[in-house]
Amino acid sequence: MTDLILQALYSGLLQGGSYALIALGLALVFGTMRVINLAHGELVLLAAYIAYTVESGLGLNPAWAIPIAVVVVSLTSAGVYGIVSRIRKDREINSLILTFGIGVIMTNLILLIWKADVRSTSSSWLQEAFVVGPLYSMRGEAVFFIVSLLLMAGLWWWLSRSWYGRALRAVSSNREAAKLMGIPPARTELVSFIVAGMLAGFAGVALYSYGVIQPAYGGALTVKAFIITVLAGVGSIPGVLLGAVLLGVAEALTVTLASSALQELAGMMLFLLVLFVMPNGLLGASRRRG
């Protein structure tokens, strides 16, 4: 039994790292602009399909797809910002529906271009076992877990040290005041979308490397990302990691101790529980109630 639980915790941890990478972009944009990009899952999926094209078309390891995916998805993300920035009033709600529509468009485009087949990496190296004592995982999972930790650390550093990073935080806490201090809000928001796109690029390639992709997955990814954003609390990067790991571990434990049919239920219940009990999220700081 202990072996089972240990493995569940380990699997949950690794899975949490990947979830965190997927959620990070959404959390960043939400923290800066209070806009939920419901097309975020599709951005991640797009990166995953780019990885597929690189692997099957050029025969290279999916890791080579990272630069291409990052560039393409960042540009797409900037495009999404361009559309969202045109909303005049009720930005919070209208952006929800708008990005929702963009998500529908992207899912169907992906379906048209890449067809409905199920895809994943065929690279042997990534699928080989990586064993640490009684804990098992795929090499791909371990590698991308480290990558996501590094990215999160990098993002955290960028937000606290660099000019644009601090500008983002300023705009997120008070847009008008930031403007008065000379920070261009529109440009800052664009930066947040681009950085979110970069993160989605990494997340997509990672997803392709350890998981299976299908055009219909975009929506589910967005929902997971949003659940984690809520768990994290607004404006907290460590919160995203914590929330994601919590979700991953909850799912793995549900599968191990209860029934694997209830995995999704665990996520949803956790989400609602946090909303009821800690509306500011685990590490968040601002108002949630209206």
Partner: protein, 330 residues
Amino acid sequence: MNARPPGLAPVIAILVVGYGAVPLLLGANQYIMSLIVAALVIGCVALSWALLGNLGGMVSFGHSAFFGVGAYVSAIVTLKAGLPVAAGMVLGGAGAVLASLAMLPVLRLRGPYFALAILAYAHIFRIVATEWTSVTGGSGGIGNIPLLPALPPNLSGIGMGGKTGAYLVILTIVLLFALAYRAIRASHYGLALRAMRDSEDATRVVGVNSTLLKGLMLMVSAFMAGVAGAFNAHYLNFLEPDYAFNGVWVTLPIVAAIFGGYRTITGPVIGALVVYLLDQIVFKALIPTGHQLVLGGLLVAMILFSPTGLLPLLPSLRKSASRPGRNDHA
């Protein structure tokens, strides 16, 4: 704020077209009638969604929860307890109301949090429906659900029976709900709710119990969507978790309501008819594998250029030519 009642003429026109022209002229074409019935079901959910948004001030991304619960409750009580279909549909609506009671705790949440919390509920209900095999038949679903009662032969005219009968039932349901919506909006509650939408704090100061009102609106919206779900179950005679709680019951009503104008009462229903029929008859023929793309594009265009919908644009274009500066608020 304009409380001018619609003239008698449009109402009579709707009744004549709905109850007379459509069944007589189109009743023979099963395919078109199928599309119209499906569009009206979407329209009913769109109406309930718009009601929640307008009167309750809450956007929901999980109306499929109410739809599915209504469908299952109605199917189970008619199949296992032998109740008549009409009673089943009402109970389906009641079941959806009970489901909405479980959602009361999330009423306090703001905009996007509420929208996605409802979605979480929809997922939970779906999983419950899949796992509670003894009651809901699990993932296999429930088959052979009792049909809607057939129309007496002399009323069904051309003898189309089932399909035309179903059409008349859903039409009546939608019209009744639209009337109820109008009644609520015109009442004291409606006034309070619209004030709340503009500023909840101000209305609270004046003594309006905003949480209670919002809860009531959630229940009304749930009831409507639940009845739509129940109708659909009896119309198709078949139900299963993935279909009952499918995302399509979330996305299409939103597109329909936004397109038709979610601030009006007729907007969502007309939007549903236009969008659904256009999609199935025109777009599907033009772009067989990707016509759903057009729906997404439509949604984006709507939000950018006319968030209050496309249809309200038409009369206001006319009116603005003759009466500049008139504010068309619902």
